[in-house]
């Protein structure tokens, strides 16, 4: 019996090794297209951001790029517009992140109620998310005109006592206007994320809270909020990264103006790298942007980590 097994084993082993090898080869073949594309269109350009930032590469140039050391960075740190773009980007993110996350949570709570028509409201709140940011920006450029709809509504609501400003033409109001519109467009997305989080909370927890005579606020404070911890991290990280990447609204609505009051890091990168074709300088901006995004998302993950 044992002898018979011994005679069988070598045969079986070679069969499984060849099957294993075939499995590995097939798997390599299946993974290769995606891995190759990610290498060519993601890993290489990220590496290039690091490499090109230390050269004098231009988008179209007859001469090959030369190594210039830290020249792009010294130029960058001498550039007042870069500091403005950095400040505007941080300002935008600092307002949009809490505003959009908070409002999205309010919307999610409103449409998580068991009343008639919640599905209708979910759909309506989500409509701007499906609308392209370019279209939204053009639409709101009209709404924000001095004689536009926003100011007419303000004037009607205050019985003509208050005339709204030229929203996008005034350095003081341009960024707030962009912020308001961006939240209007994006809040539905995060409402859905919060909603998904809310629906994972077991109903028994609320029943237990009710038995203890909890008020609505108690229920939110001690059941809903702690149960949303993972969702919270996700919402914060995604809104922050999206806010730092602010570009389309600026490009379409203000081109960074008036007086550079709305220029952002990505807008600066595109302006120098594409409009002025200074690839190396734009790579330096991209590199700083990359470090910024990485740092912020790591810090957020650290701050919202599980505390045991």
């Amino acid at each position: 019996m044992l002898a018979a097994l011994d005679r069988l084993r070598p045969v079986r082993r070679t069969r499984t090794t060849s099957a294993r090898r075939r499995e590995s080869l097939t798997a390599f073949g299946m993974a290769t297209p995606a891995v190759a594309l990610l290498l060519v269109f993601l890993v290489v350009p990220v590496a290039l951001a690091f490499a090109l930032a230390f050269t004098d590469a231009r988008l179209i140039s007859p001469t090959p790029a030369r190594f210039v050391g830290l020249r792009n960075f010294t130029r960058l740190f001498d550039d007042p517009v870069f500091y403005k773009s950095l400040r505007n980007t941080v300002y935008f993110a600092a307002v949009v992140v809490p505003l959009q996350a908070g409002l999205a949570l309010v919307l999610a709570l409103l449409v998580n109620a068991k009343v008639r028509g919640v599905n209708f409201f979910r759909t309506v709140y989500f409509l701007p998310v499906v609308t392209s940011m370019v279209v939204v920006s053009l639409l709101w450029t009209f709404l924000y005109r001095q004689d536009g709809l926003v100011n007419r509504v303000i004037s009607t609501l205050t019985f003509g006592h208050f005339d709204g400003p030229d929203w996008l033409g005034d350095p003081a109001t341009a960024m707030p206007a962009v912020i308001l519109m961006s939240v209007w467009q994006g809040v539905g997305f995060h409402m859905v994320i919060w909603l998904a989080g809310l629906q994972t909370i077991p109903a028994e927890l609320y029943e237990a809270a009710d038995l203890d005579g909890a008020t609505r606020w108690d229920r939110f404070r001690h059941v809903t909020w702690p149960c949303l911890r993972e969702t919270r991290t996700f919402v914060l990280v995604t809104i922050t990264i999206a806010a730092f990447s602010l570009f389309t609204q600026i490009r379409v609505m203000t081109q960074g103006g008036p007086l550079d009051s709305t220029t952002t890091v990505v807008h600066q990168a595109v302006h120098t790298g594409y409009d002025q074709q200074q690839t190396a300088y734009a790579a330096a901006i991209s590199l700083i942007f990359f470090v910024l995004v990485l740092a912020v998302s790591l810090i957020q993950r650290f701050l919202t980590r599980e505390r045991d």
Binding site: E23, A27, L42, V135, G188, I193
Partner: protein, 290 residues
């Protein structure tokens, strides 16, 4: 009584918010049918949101007379569709290998793919412009094929960078893991190869995942602006969003802007309302942690 008032308040808040989200879009569509002087004239009353007065399709015909908008639409349909189809094939194949097969380096590749998730496109878009401008390209010159350099102004430069997607791979991977592995073993005993298992067993069972990836690939492809703005110069290859931003710079009337906007928005909104459940669950799935 208090509870009733509270519910009434909740419903009131829901309705007011619904108006805030929907009225600007209603205004856009309604204005696309009005001449410019009437758009401004109607701003003071609720007529701004109603298709009343001198309503016509003039703005729409005006758009098509001014720019090749039909060509832009065709380009965007083509680019988005190919990106979606290739994306589904390429990413699901990789996810299949990562989730159901055993091979050396599997864990490493999966970790690397997930690590790329936090890198936003904007961080490497500009180096990528320089990079695609260096890539070799086989172009047809009359009846001859010849190698040139630079992918600027092509369809492929608008498609290929967005085919492989870390989130799609990750999402398919999570979904495929939930399909019992015993199915594969049974199929292997019956003599099926891995590719047959992928095509005949796993993919047919993954329709919801395919729908999610299709939606999450289509929307950004249709709405893409930053990338085609930088890599497409010629009008024949221009997608809708770059098309409308240049159209806006021509100083055309607002009615025509609203007509073009409605044209490229309403079909997507209609698709969304029709497949609302699939859309919403797709978005919700982006927040699911593996």
């Amino acid at each position: 009584m208090a509870a009733f008032l509270k519910r009434l308040g909740g419903q009131g808040a829901r309705i007011v918010l619904a108006l805030v989200f929907v009225l600007p879009l209603v205004f856009m569509v309604v204005s696309s049918f009005k001449p410019d002087d009437q758009i401004f004239g109607d701003l003071d009353s609720l007529r701004a949101f109603l298709p009343l007065g001198d309503v016509s399709l003039d703005n729409y015909t005006g758009v098509f007379e001014r720019v090749p908008a039909a060509r832009f639409l065709l380009n965007s349909v083509l680019i988005s569709t190919i990106t979606v189809v290739l994306g589904i094939i390429v990413n699901s194949l990789a996810a299949f290998a990562l989730s159901r097969m055993r091979w050396p380096g599997r864990k490493l590749v999966l970790t690397a793919v997930i690590a790329t998730l936090i890198v936003p496109f904007e961080t490497f878009a500009l180096p990528l412009v320089w990079w695609v401008n260096q890539l070799p390209l086989l172009r047809a010159n009359g009846f001859q094929l010849e190698w040139t350099t630079g992918w600027m102004d092509t369809y492929q430069v608008q498609i290929l960078p967005f085919v492989a997607n870390a989130f799609s791979i990750f999402f398919f991977h999570q979904y495929f893991r939930s399909i019992p592995k015993e199915l594969d073993e049974a199929a292997i005993v019956d003599g099926a190869g891995w590719f047959t298992i992928y095509r005949r067993i796993v993919m047919p069972l993954s329709a919801p995942a395919v729908a999610t990836v299709a939606i999450l690939t289509f929307l950004p492809a249709w709405n893409s602006y930053l990338w085609p703005l930088m890599v497409v110069q010629s009008e024949e290859l221009r997608p809708v969003m770059v098309g409308i931003s240049y159209f806006f710079q021509l100083n055309v009337g607002w009615g025509q802007i609203m007509a073009y906007s409605s044209m490229i928005t309403v079909p997507i909104l209609a698709l969304f309302v029709a497949f609302q459940r699939a859309f919403v669950s797709s978005i919700a799935s982006t927040g699911v942690k593996g």
